[in-house]
Each structure stands twice: as structure tokens, then as C-alpha cells.
Symmetry: C2
Subunit: 112 residues, 2 copies
């Protein structure tokens, strides 16, 4: 399987969970420590850490430990890759409709 | 959990698989029957049907049975919803960077 496909698997899988999306949403406002991320979430710290590990594996989040504090931030390039795949599919679908429209228009013009 | 969140769970989960993404890619070129969709995929028809069921549950694909043939097509509005969520996150992240840039520029101007 091509590398790009594995990335997409991991990314979409990481995004398929409300807690992980809430973490991403929080991190788009700026980097945060693990305990800051855990505060608004109604779950244990180990559960939050597990979600963060999945987000890191997908490449959507990167973290760095300085002293005893691990700080997380989003990796916008990965968000971009997932968005690009979706945009490509929509563009192709819309192009198909434009061609169908043009075809119908052409036929109507001929019959006028 | 809000309805929108459940939709996003199902959509991202449906997209987290190369076979299901291949089906979506094929369908952006136009509607296709189940057997047409199965042809390029190296798997049994029941497996393909299972993937299609997941895609239908997510709302990304809709199908209609006429006589003995089930025809599938993509639902572009759902693709749009997934893309919109990602676009929102990126926009927020980028806006944060613009504000940081403006702040740094302001400080530099003051110290010149």
C-alpha cells in the first residue's frame, strides 16, 4: 500500500472520534500541555494520553517534552493533506456535473 | 453527543480505509453498479458489499436498486461537511499565525 494511503488511513481514523476532534479544535487556538488538554474532557488522564498517542501516530499532532511538561501542537500540513484528498474528490464530482450541464445545454441549444 | 458529531465520526471512520476511498474515487467519475465497483477491487463481492454498507451508513454514498441492479453514487454534501470541518480547523490555525506575525511585526516596528 502506498505511504500516502497509510497516512490517510491513520488521519481519518484519528479524526473519527469526538474527543480527538475536540483536542484538535483546542490545539488550533495554540499549543497546550497534556493537563491543559485534559481539563475540559470528562475522562481520566491515561485515556487522554491514549487519544494523544493516536493523534501523534497519525501525524496530526506533535508534542515535545520540556522538563516535566509535554506540550502539544497541531501539524497543519497533515490537516491540509486530509483536506486536499476530500477537495480532490469534490472537484472531480463537480467537474462531472459541469460537463453534464454543458452537454444538456448543448442539446437544448440544438433543439431550439 | 450532537448529531453533527456522530456524522463526522461515521464519515471519517468510513474514509479511514483504502478500499472505501477507492470506491469514493471511482464514484466521483459517475454512478456505478455494485459489480462495476467490485471489478477492480481484489476481494469477494460480499466484502465489497460490506464496505458499501459502511459508506451508506456514513451518508457518503447513496444507492438505489432498480430491478436486479443496485446503482451507487456519492453524496457530495457529506464530502463537503467533512471538508468544511477540516477547513475550519486550518483557518483557525492560520488566523492564529497571522495574529502572531502581526504582533511580532508591531514589536519590531516599535524597536526600530
Amino acid at each position: 500500500m502506498p505511504k500516502q494511503s497509510v497516512y490517510l488511513d491513520q488521519m481519518f481514523s484519528a479524526l473519527a472520534d469526538p474527543t480527538r476532534r475536540a483536542i484538535i479544535e483546542r490545539l488550533t487556538h495554540g499549543p497546550a500541555s497534556v493537563s491543559e488538554l485534559a481539563k475540559p474532557l470528562k475522562m481520566s488522564l491515561p485515556s487522554v494520553v491514549q487519544h494523544l498517542q493516536l493523534l501523534e501516530q497519525s501525524g496530526l499532532v506533535v508534542s515535545r517534552k520540556i522538563g516535566r511538561v509535554r506540550t502539544c501542537r497541531v501539524e497543519p500540513k497533515r490537516l491540509e493533506a486530509a483536506q486536499a484528498w476530500l477537495a480532490k474528490q469534490r472537484a472531480r464530482w463537480e467537474a462531472r456535473f459541469s460537463r453534464l450541464d454543458a452537454f444538456v445545454q448543448e442539446r437544448e441549444d440544438k433543439h431550439e
